[in-house]
Symmetry: C2
Subunit: 202 residues, 2 copies
């Protein structure tokens, strides 16, 4: 069999990452085998190691890939909301749109970052670091938007935006866990409403 060109290698690596997001999001780390991952990308199991040294290294790369693409699509969604809503409503509407995506997914898989934080922060230092860096990026963007809300008086001002941003992130992740347990997005919608329309208001 001829060696794959580096362009083909890169293409297969991207397929592995995409399939990895789907598999790890649905089943978690331990319930997903390298054989399944390889099969999903149409490569033999042995070839997997041409792309990643281990399942752990693969999972860390999947975390970074998921976080990067999610943050990109989330920022697009923020920009769309910014064009439609006043500053104080932009974050609420963006989270509501994200919730709507979960509602349409029958599986209610939840957020890969939260799921893997729960499952493998202890077991894998490499994945823990990837999760930590990814979550910090989200909180940074949240803090910037909350600061804008504070500047126009739509968000309470007595707390640092960073502190409020971590609360928003934690409510979001906690409510996504309840979404999985309740098999419904109603807990997420209720939390977003209380948070953005009551607790964060001046």
């Amino acid at each position: 069999m001829a060696r794959k060109s580096s362009a083909d290698m890169e293409k297969t690596k991207q397929v592995l990452l995409e399939e990895g997001v789907a598999l790890l999001q649905e089943r978690g780390y331990h319930a997903t085998g390298i054989q399944e991952i390889a099969t999903s990308a149409n490569i033999p199991k042995g070839s997997f190691y041409n792309y990643f040294a281990s399942k752990e290294e693969f999972a860390a790369a999947v975390i970074r890939h998921y976080a990067q693409t999610s943050l990109c699509s989330w920022q697009e969604s923020l920009n769309q909301a910014a064009a439609q809503y006043e500053t104080g409503e932009v974050l609420y509407q963006t989270f509501l749109a994200a919730t709507e995506k979960y509602r349409c997914s029958e599986q209610k898989k939840g957020c890969l970052l939260g799921n893997l934080a729960a499952e493998i922060s202890e077991a894998s230092e490499e994945c823990r670091q990837a999760l930590q860096a990814s979550i910090a990026n989200f909180i940074k963007v949240l803090a910037e938007h909350l600061a804008r809300g504070q500047a126009i008086g739509a968000v309470r001002r007595e707390l640092e935006p960073q502190l409020l941003a971590t609360i928003v992130w934690d409510v979001w992740q906690g409510s996504l866990l309840r979404m999985k347990v309740e098999k419904s997005v109603a807990p997420v919608q209720a939390d977003l409403d209380v948070l953005f329309h009551q607790l964060l208001r001046p």
Copy 2:
């Protein structure tokens, strides 16, 4: 080998549940094998099935056992705090004491309910239902205490206690996920402070 008496059977079942809490809390569902569970309770692997029909049934029983004992010890902690602090501070102090227990555990294992909500809500309907019922019990107790806070004017009153209780639960669970990712209880302490001393205040 003589058959175990039903008292001995009950004792072994309790040991299995206790060891199950420790194993599932540290490693999660999929990374824990029946062999390990049996070994931890000093019984042969085959005997495990005298106690539980499957690993799934076992995990659901562990969830209920953990929730019951945690809720008991949490209510004791609430009573202790009620004797020491004013009504508006009782929940904050109780959560702070719970956080302190996590600080002392080197492993930062997190909450079994949150960890398994993330890992197996999808995969096991039996465990999902055990999680749902257990979490509802916690939220009920939280709502009762928040209603007391509202009655004396220490907690904001424009929202139903049930809605505030779910926010408190979700912030708690979200911050425990970040505790695992940050390897520190600082995120939990910061959230509790913002939540109880700012956002929930009238």
